[in-house]
């Protein structure tokens, strides 16, 4: 018998894990996207959606604090461009420290993903 009450709870839990995974990988995603050159916030958001056909999507409210953290940590440098009229636009690009961080995180991610794939391929041993 299916306990209906537990279904939404499970669903919540699943989303929770998804959220955690996304949060952990956001810095890597942003550094990777910026490695292809300077971009402003909206470009980064839309590029991410396009490149992953919408399966990886972030809101502005999630992305911008991550960019701010990377900026404070010195991994990303910023440049303000003031148009003739209107609001100044903020451009982000990788610094040398950012490139090194990107390489480190990429390596870490690949090692982790390989280990997980290997683990999940194994049949459970019966004792």
């Amino acid at each position: 018998m299916v306990d209906m009450a537990s279904v939404p709870a499970q669903d919540d839990n699943r989303r929770g894990i998804e959220r955690e995974l996304k949060r952990g990988s956001l810095e890597l995603i942003v550094l990777h996207l910026l490695s292809q050159g300077e971009a402003y916030g909206y470009e980064i958001v839309t590029t991410l959606t396009e490149r992953t056909n919408g399966s990886l999507e972030v809101t502005d409210g999630t992305l911008y604090p991550v960019l701010y953290r990377l900026e404070r940590a010195g991994f990303v440098a910023v440049r303000w461009e003031t148009p003739q009229r209107g609001v100044p636009r903020k451009y982000y690009r990788l610094t040398h420290a950012g490139e090194a961080e990107l390489a480190r995180l990429t390596h870490e991610w690949n090692t982790f993903a390989r280990a997980m794939a290997q683990l999940l391929r194994q049949q459970p041993e019966r004792t």
Binding site: G41, Y42, Y64, R89
Partner: protein
């Protein structure tokens, strides 16, 4: 007031009263809203993307590390507060005693002392620091990094009024984040001021 400005104000209200941080975040949020508007979206849509202003403010604050400070530095700030207070009050008490009677001087001194006990409560709520903390580069924040509420400021000062100040202070020597018992209770911390971050 425009929708955009009232949203930005709500984000800013949650940040500590440090002008540079507030300006940075306000300018940044404004520019990101403008990006979406320039791509043909409405301000409402842009704000929806940014989400709840309190959550956004706390996410920005999470990017600013909270650097703990030593017990000695905090004690020094407290001492400076006391010295500054004496420097202000002593001439007044002296003048009153000299001009009228000694007993009046003592009376005025007592009133000033009682008022002085309330000084950290208002200063920390209003400015996030007292004079002594300002001189030593310290600030008072919520554990999330946000600005403290008036209630939190009151709870921080309770041990003085309950006359358990010294016991409370001892906690700061042994707790993980060097918090006094009433700081743990009020969920506040004393950390390094942002302008002193390297």
């Amino acid at each position: 007031m425009s929708l955009e400005q009232s949203y930005i104000d709500r984000v800013i209200a949650r940040l500590p009263r440090e002008a540079t941080l507030r300006e940075q975040v306000a300018m940044e949020v404004r520019s990101h809203i403008a990006e979406r508007v320039e791509h043909g979206q409405s301000v409402e849509q842009a704000l929806q993307q940014l989400g709840d202003p309190v959550t956004l403010a706390e996410s920005y604050l999470a990017a600013v590390p909270l650097i703990p400070v030593s017990f000695g530095r905090r004690a020094a700030a407290k001492l400076l507060d006391a010295l500054a207070y004496v420097a202000v009050c002593a001439p007044i008490v002296g003048l009153v005693s000299y001009r009228f009677q000694f007993v009046f001087g003592m009376l005025v001194g007592g009133v000033l002392l009682a008022l002085g006990a309330f000084y950290p409560l208002f200063a920390e709520y209003r400015y996030g620091k007292t004079l002594g903390k300002h001189w030593l580069g310290l600030r008072v924040v919520r554990e999330s990094g946000g600005r403290i509420s008036f209630g939190q400021s009151v709870v921080r000062q309770l041990p003085l009024f309950l006359e358990v100040f010294w016991i409370d202070v001892l906690f700061a020597l042994f707790t993980e984040k060097h918090q006094r018992a009433f700081e743990i209770l009020s969920k506040t911390r004393v950390v390094l001021a942002m302008e002193n971050h390297s």
